[in-house]
């Protein structure tokens, strides 16, 4: 899972960009080739479908807005998975934490009708972080104190979150007299401004899209993530526990404490999905607004090598898939939204689990070329 290709100083060393650029691109190509095969089996032309996917995601300004809106979600969940990874934990519960985060943001927005939106936005961010962190706390505590397998408990908490939210929306928070399980719409004054509105204040006109200010918060989170992890004592302790729990114990660092801290931050980050979705776009709490973002976050963190810059790029890729893939069904009657999951699954498989698939061949290629180059230089020097 660590950066590959650290052959510094050896003859014919493999350049670093092979590990973090060339190999992921090769894996992506493999994933897309297989996706193309699936599209062929369905009976459509893969080249047409995939190029339509790209143009629907990046081809015009409105589409880019949509793509970045999806990217926002994936940055949050990608960071959430990554911080847990740095502590050696697998947080599969991003889905449930995001769901609860949305509840937190929604409750704030429902309660504060008439307040200015910046206040509501700050409080909603806090509330979603609190709710998401709370939902991550129980599995974290159980892992730290009781050794309960966190992969299993976070998965179970996804199911439990889904049940609780259904109950809340069907029986408790539902708009009186309404049939569909959702809350009333928030007062327009507390909505998180969309990007087109916000840029409009500065006289910049862009087409309307769900992209909203939480995108900027996502980018800020990337920066905070980096500072916390690399520049603070807490981040150092957290990474130490992730690298070597026993060494951490000998250094006086408590693994249990750091497991809980990592999961609280992880849950809070996942909870921010609720700000983007509920406060920024839906403007009401609805059923299943998360739609798999927590799982995509795993892929994003893996592809981004748990580094904020990588996570932004990987989130962008999955944003393109989500937006472009979602549009395909309008053009092709035989294709529905689930094709996106097929492509996502293949990308995760190739970029995550089979990340070393082409490594031996590619590295051998570079070593041979490097060795040949040094040999040339040596003979050239003598002659």
């Amino acid at each position: 899972m660590l950066l590959s290709g650290s052959g510094k100083g050896q003859p014919g060393a493999v350049p670093g960009w092979v590990g973090y650029a060339l190999l992921p691109v090769l894996n992506l190509v493999a994933a897309f080739v297989l996706s193309g095969l699936v599209i062929l089996v369905i009976g459509e032309n893969p080249v047409d479908v995939l190029s339509l996917l790209l143009s629907e995601a990046l081809g015009y300004p409105e589409a880019i807005g949509y793509t970045l809106y999806y990217t926002t979600d994936y940055i949050f969940t990608g960071l959430a998975v990554a911080i847990a990874f740095h502590c050696g934990l697998f947080n599969i519960g991003g889905e449930g934490q995001a769901y609860l985060g949305g509840l937190g943001a929604g409750l704030v927005a429902l309660a504060l009708t008439g307040w200015p939106w910046p206040v509501v936005a700050v409080l909603a961010v806090l509330a979603s972080a609190l709710f998401g962190a709370a939902w991550a706390f129980i599995p974290a505590w159980l892992q730290a104190k009781r050794g309960s397998h966190i992969v299993i408990t976070t998965i179970m908490f996804n199911f439990i979150a889904a049940s609780i939210m259904t109950w809340l929306l069907v029986d408790v928070l539902i708009r009186p007299g309404s049939q569909s399980p959702e809350t009333r719409e928030f007062d327009p004054g507390v909505w998180l401004p969309s990007m087109d509105r916000a840029l409009g204040w500065f006289g910049i006109a862009i087409p309307a899209s769900p992209l909203n200010l939480s995108f900027l918060w996502a980018l800020a989170c990337c920066l905070l993530f980096h500072i916390f992890l690399r520049r603070t004592r807490w981040g150092y302790e957290l990474r130490t526990v992730g690298r070597n729990e026993r060494a951490a114990v000998y250094a006086g660092i408590s693994p249990a404490r750091n497991i809980v801290i990592a999961m609280l931050i992880s849950g809070a980050l996942a909870g921010f999905v609720g700000v983007n979705e509920i406060l920024g776009v839906q403007h009401r709490v609805i059923l299943n607004f998360t739609g798999g973002v927590g799982f995509v976050g795993i892929a994003v963190a893996l592809m981004g090598r748990n580094h904020p810059v990588g996570i932004i790029l990987a989130a962008l890729l999955f944003g393109v898939l989500a937006q472009g893939g979602g549009q395909l069904s309008f053009e092709y009657p035989t294709i529905n939204r689930e094709l996106v999951m097929v492509i996502q699954g293949l990308v995760i498989l190739f970029a995550g689990a089979m990340e070393n698939l082409f490594k031996p061949q590619v590295e051998a290629l570079f070593r041979r070329r490097g060795a040949a180059a040094t040999a040339d230089a040596a003979t050239g020097g003598r002659g």
């Binding site: 109950w167 795993i298 529905n336 293949l346 089979m354």
Partner: protein, 324 residues
Amino acid sequence: MEDALLLALQLLGATIRVATPLVLAAFAGMYCERAGVVDIGLEGKMLAGAFFSAAVASATLNPWLGLLAGIAAGVALAMVHGFACITHNGNQVVSGMAINILVAGLAPTLAYAWFQQGGQTPLLPNQARIPAVELPGADALSGIPVLGPVYRELLNGNNVLIWVTLVLVIATHWVLYRSRFGLRLRAVGENPAAVDTAGLSVATLRYQALLVTGVLTGMAGSYLSTGHGAGFVRDMTAGKGYLALAALIFGKWRPGPTLFACLLFAFTDAVQVRLQGVVLPGIGVIPVQFIQMLPYVLTVLLLAGFVGKAIAPKASGIPYVKER
């Protein structure tokens, strides 16, 4: 008295029917985890098994071909998992997750394209479903108190795969603890280096374990869509693969306790179906969502309270890299 007995028997019957796919999946997981390969892709393999057996059964009207197709799908995905985790030392949890997401998309996508019924297969006629075993003399015995109802409700009319599962449970216990293959399987999960030193191939053993995993998950899926149900519906495994994994951990990777854990989860499920809409004295009607989350809450409670530190096979989850 008679009614209470009948109710208890019906609950037990439902428990067995619900437990069968869980047991198959949990035992599938037991083989590969005992060999040191973590597989959270049980869910996806089951779903693939369910889809492909229903698709083939509906096309050929032959449930056995459907079963074969389901098993083939399970095995194929298990081999993908092996290729990623054994051959390429990939992350096992990620590979499993990828398979789950892939199948959750692939099954409805193919169903949508092939059958045009909104991501389902057509309803299977009875001849295309895996049959139940009608035991002889159910009517003749029904007059006898206790024994008659037990025979009729509990033993008679069970699906073929339920009996197969029963045999597999016993066989697994024997294979794991009494056979040479089982000894090697357990060894490769605890200390692959020792197995390697003994001149056995770690990779081959792990692939063999995954092969069994694939067969069992395929059967589990097949039971869901062509035995218990009559056709594939979207997301029909509904977390059973994860529950099976939890049962496996709760059972500490041993056949007997794992079987018990599966039966416990299934019993909770059988009870929850009966509790829906029932007015409990003093409490009233419990919202259906709370009843539905019982198995999941139970899993967390069991993992937290009773298992304590679950001691997994030592090498489980760690790719084996030969030192060079």
